[in-house]
Symmetry: C2
Subunit: 185 residues, 2 copies
DNA sequence: TGGGTCATGTAACCTGTTACATGATTAG
DNA sequence: CTAATCATGTAACAGGTTACATGACCCA
């Protein structure tokens, strides 16, 4: 999607290594998507070529060296522009194989589909739990950062993430009821 | 995502050309995502190589010839398996740049962000209108198909699509209220 | 006379995914 | 003793995006 800009955003909090960024991304932007570690390293490479980032290597003993990335002025400019762009235009799709599966679910039996919808529900419940844990873990950062402007939007992102999964759960309940009623007819 | 399986599903309704599939996809699976026409042709090519499809060419006068694709037994088997797989596992992410944007929205002013959220709302309203039109247009198919098992799931997909966008709208209202309240403090 | 529909694609590029590789240290 | 953590990547492939090309017909 826009991994590059996600990384730029995280690097505004401070210099980090690819490893740190991987963890930071996975623990804060998880509702967005699951990034591949290898992709992060690749993107960091091309971002450095574009001069959005600079880097320095810290030598460690016993452990592998750490390569710290730092956001440049170019990078900050790029991030600022991206944050003001309208990304809502064409990219609001419900991009899940599950939706296709549902559309063609008439090819399966109702029992098979109910089972699938139940799995969806469970999965969404556990995602909500993850988000709540994530958010509680972030409390400490909020105490350190004390930048209300930032934390305000973390809260909004948190609300959006949770309601997104809650919506699947609500739909799943309605769907199961609907299928049972049809069954009884 | 799984364009190949989406195309297989559509071809179960009857033989179609790439052009037809493009239109069918865009008018029924639109809440899922917007496929590139060129990608459909490419995928059809590889699907034919895999022998999930066979094709025949119908010569037309004045207009370009039409290349009809037909789902093979191999293709049907593949679709059946795919429809029973668990696609909910790792792929339920809210995969939108908007989420990243929101997470880092503290870099913008509140006014800029409220404007952005309002654009989101409008866009979601128009998506819901699109889905409703789409669904009404599909009524005729439902009368022809008369396969209640299929149409039942079209209805569920329709419900999911609408609630997905409605959820953004509800969130947007809360978010705007939240930002205004914070502003007043 | 210009734009839309019909109908097919190719080429290049960018992004995402999967698999693999290394090698030391630390905790259960 | 085994698994996890620390920390870096490369290679190959699959899937998505953008730009371009062709050419006739139809409608305002």
């Amino acid at each position: 999607m826009s991994l590059k800009h996600g990384l730029l955003g995280l690097l505004k909090y401070g210099d980090m290594t690819g490893y740190d960024l991987d963890k930071a991304f996975k623990s804060s932007l998880r509702p967005a998507w699951n990034v591949q570690t290898s992709q992060i390293y690749r993107e960091l490479g091309t971002m450095e070529e574009k001069e959005w980032l600079s880097s320095r290597i810290e030598i460690q003993e016993g452990k592998p060296n750490r390569k710290y990335y730092h956001i440049t002025q170019e990078g900050e400019k790029e991030l600022k522009l991206w944050l003001l762009e309208d990304h809502v235009k064409e990219e609001l799709y419900l991009r899940h194989p599950f939706f296709l599966q549902l559309f063609f679910a008439g090819e399966n039996t109702d029992e098979e589909n109910v089972k699938m919808i139940q799995i969806l529900k469970e999965r969404c419940h556990s995602e909500i739990t993850n988000i709540e844990t994530m958010y509680r873990d972030a409390e400490e950062y909020r105490n350190i950062v004390k930048d209300e402007n930032r934390t305000k939007y973390w809260q909004l992102a948190n609300m959006l993430g949770k309601s997104y999964y809650q919506n699947f759960i609500n739909w799943a309940d309605e769907a199961i009821e609907f299928l049972n009623k049809k069954e009884g007819e």
